[in-house]
């Protein structure tokens, strides 16, 4: 064999292996995505199925309820997207720490402080940008506080977050009803001045709120940080295996602190966007804010902790929320139906092992 021939064969060989390697890589990813999609679909199906059984026993027609839920829930695109804004952000507040191995259940209170601080700042400065920044700082600060307790005092972050959630809840109710109430409408807080409102613009799909665009930009920034920067790599490695992170010279404690700071900041931004861009005040029972953080956990899981997935999951859940209210208007079935469906979906999402078993069972059955 001449050297030229060898060179040619070698080149052919490397190209071939490289190609098979790439194909293999795509194949693996494709299998991952397929399993993920299957898990999500199965979980949602289980959720709706159990909800249907419940509805049936409560004396409602499940078919009618679900057709109203989907027809009205996803009917008005502009409303749907604006509703999804806080959910995108609280889901991110759960998912970023989750990637780093921390369980942030405090998205609820981080959103509260973000909303409240943003309200105060825009009320006094009439500047929405300052308001948004203040919301980010407030939420991030609270997130950081929880992670400091976890890292330096070894406090379980779930317990700390729940205690802080309730403390902030009652503190906010006090501040809204006791100090910052609207003199004209006493059961509401002061209002964001009209000139500081984030507006909306016309698009082929109807009126879209600026806050939604900002939320999507926020999600994209997080996507960039998580997958294209050193910091994101640190977070993900520490989450997957704190031990190997330490071997590689990373400090997993830093990952906990940064992830909670980022997560809290996102929840705070969510609260700020909601107040400045959408509702403009907080009512004295906090019904506009209550539950947004908890629902965010389910959305983060459904979006598989991926910022892009979260946007779609948030839109999906928002539709359920809107649809749930229409269901109440049309059939009288309580809107908490949506909470129940979400709860069941989340439990179903906790058991990927069961789905993997199911898939391998199907595979074995097909081999026979």
């Amino acid at each position: 064999m001449s050297p030229k021939e060898i060179k040619y064969k070698l080149a052919l060989f490397t190209r071939k292996t490289r190609l098979t390697f790439i194909i293999e890589k795509i194949r693996v990813k494709y299998v991952d995505y397929l399993t993920a999609a299957l898990e999500i679909i199965l979980s949602a199906t289980v959720g709706f199925l159990i909800a249907a059984i419940l509805l049936y026993f409560m004396g409602y027609d499940p078919y009618e309820v679900f057709s109203i839920l989907f027809r009205y829930g996803y009917g008005n695109i502009g409303y749907l997207l604006s509703k999804s804004v806080p959910y995108i952000m609280t889901a991110m507040a759960f998912s970023i720490p989750s990637l780093a191995g921390v369980f942030n259940i405090g998205g609820e209170s981080q959103l509260y402080v973000g909303a409240f601080v943003a309200l105060l700042v825009t009320y006094y400065t009439v500047n929405p940008v300052l308001g948004l920044l203040a919301g980010i700082v407030a939420g991030g600060g609270l997130g950081l506080f929880i992670s400091i307790l976890r890292v330096y005092r070894n406090i379980n972050e779930v317990i700390a977050a729940i205690m802080i959630n309730w403390t902030i809840y009652f503190l906010m109710v006090y501040l809204i009803t006791g100090i910052f109430y609207d003199p004209k409408i006493p059961h509401q807080s002061i209002q964001v001045p009209k000139s500081a409102w984030l507006g909306e613009f016309l698009s082929p799909w109807g009126r879209i709120k600026v806050s939604f665009v900002l939320a999507v930009i926020g999600a994209l920034v997080i996507y960039y940080i998580l997958y294209y920067t050193n910091l994101g790599y640190l977070l993900r490695v520490s989450g997957l295996s704190p031990l190997s992170a330490r071997y590689a010279g990373y400090n997993p404690k830093k990952a906990v602190l940064y992830s909670m700071l980022l997560g809290g900041a996102m929840a705070g931004l969510g609260g700020a966007l909601l107040i400045i861009g959408d509702v403009h005040n907080i009512d004295s029972t906090m019904s506009t804010l209550y539950g947004l953080g908890f629902t965010g956990i389910g959305i983060g899981l459904l979006g598989r902790n991926h910022p892009i997935g979260i946007i779609f999951a948030a839109i999906f859940f928002s539709g359920l929320m809107i649809g749930g209210q229409w269901v109440e208007l049309k059939t009288g079935a309580p809107p908490q139906l949506t909470d129940t469906i979400i709860g069941i979906i989340v439990i179903a999402l906790a058991i990927p092992y069961a789905y993997r078993m199911l898939i391998s069972m199907i595979r074995r059955w097909r081999m026979k």
């Binding site: 419940l54 409560m58 369980f103 259940i105 307790l149 005092r153 070894n154 406090i155 379980n156 779930v158 317990i159 700390a160 729940i162 205690m163 802080i164 959630n165 309730w166 403390t167 009652f170 503190l171 109710v173 006090y174 009803t177 006791g178 100090i179 908890f294 629902t295 956990i297 389910g298 899981l301 079935a333 309580p334 908490q336 139906l337 949506t338 909470d339 129940t340 469906i341 979400i342 709860g343 069941i344 979906i345 989340v346 439990i347 179903a348 999402l349 906790a350 058991i351 990927p352 092992y353 069961a354």
Partner: protein, 307 residues
Amino acid sequence: MIEDAINMLSNTLTTMTPLVLAGVGEIITERSGVVNIGLEGIFILSSFTAAVVTFYTGNPYYGLFIGILVGTLSGILHGFVSVYLRGDQIIAGVGYNSLAYGLSLMMMIALWQNYGQSPKVEKIPSLAIQVTEGSTIIISPITILAILIAIGVWWWLFKTSSGLKLRACGEDPRAAEAMGVNVFRTRFYATVLGATLTGIGGAYLVVGWIGQFTKFISAGRGFIALANVAFSNWNPLMAIVGGFVFGFFDALSIYLPIKLQSEFGGIFTAEANLFRTIPYVATLVIVAIIMKKIKTPRALGKPYIKE
């Protein structure tokens, strides 16, 4: 002054009961290696079903029974998901909390068309001990039961061989398996038992204490019970002390505004909310002080995978 102390003691005995029951239940569960963060959900669902059954039968003991049964069923669900399906225990617990909250509120609205609370129901009669004139200690039989259960569980966990086997599953499941312990089954039963005790606590909220179901009936108590588990260092006897400490601040948040109002006159409106933060801030501070010194079961929260 002495009357205040006695009243506070009486109130604390009331508020500590669910914390002790759920705390001891969770100690059993966590000692076997499973975390059940759904205590809050069990409180909500058990108290709701207890309220429904008591409302329709007029007998609080039936309510108590159903509340316990709901706790057992919740334990079976969580045990199945986290032990046999190897699910993520934290996520399953969070999902259960959301499910229990949604389900109870949904049924409450469907049954009574009320968004805030259920109608008043019968309560299990409490024992009243007159100490001085104008102050009595009111103690529910369930409180006494809770303390007895805690002592019994301590004896079982630390003085019997089956208790040792259970603790082995939480420390080193592989070694336990080699010893001939069925890790799956032990963890499953421990989860069911823990949830059952939490169910008693949930039913107590309605039939032993408040006398009706409200939207915020639990208000984070399930998580204070979790804090109690860490406070007690996974020891049921210390869980009684922890229940007393956390319960004290809960009682204080109720008693203090009433006392201040009667002393100085006037009625708190918005300020009342500030008093309600007391138990949460106190829990956080106490946990922050003691948390450095505790020792968690080593295999806690990790699904056991047989080779």
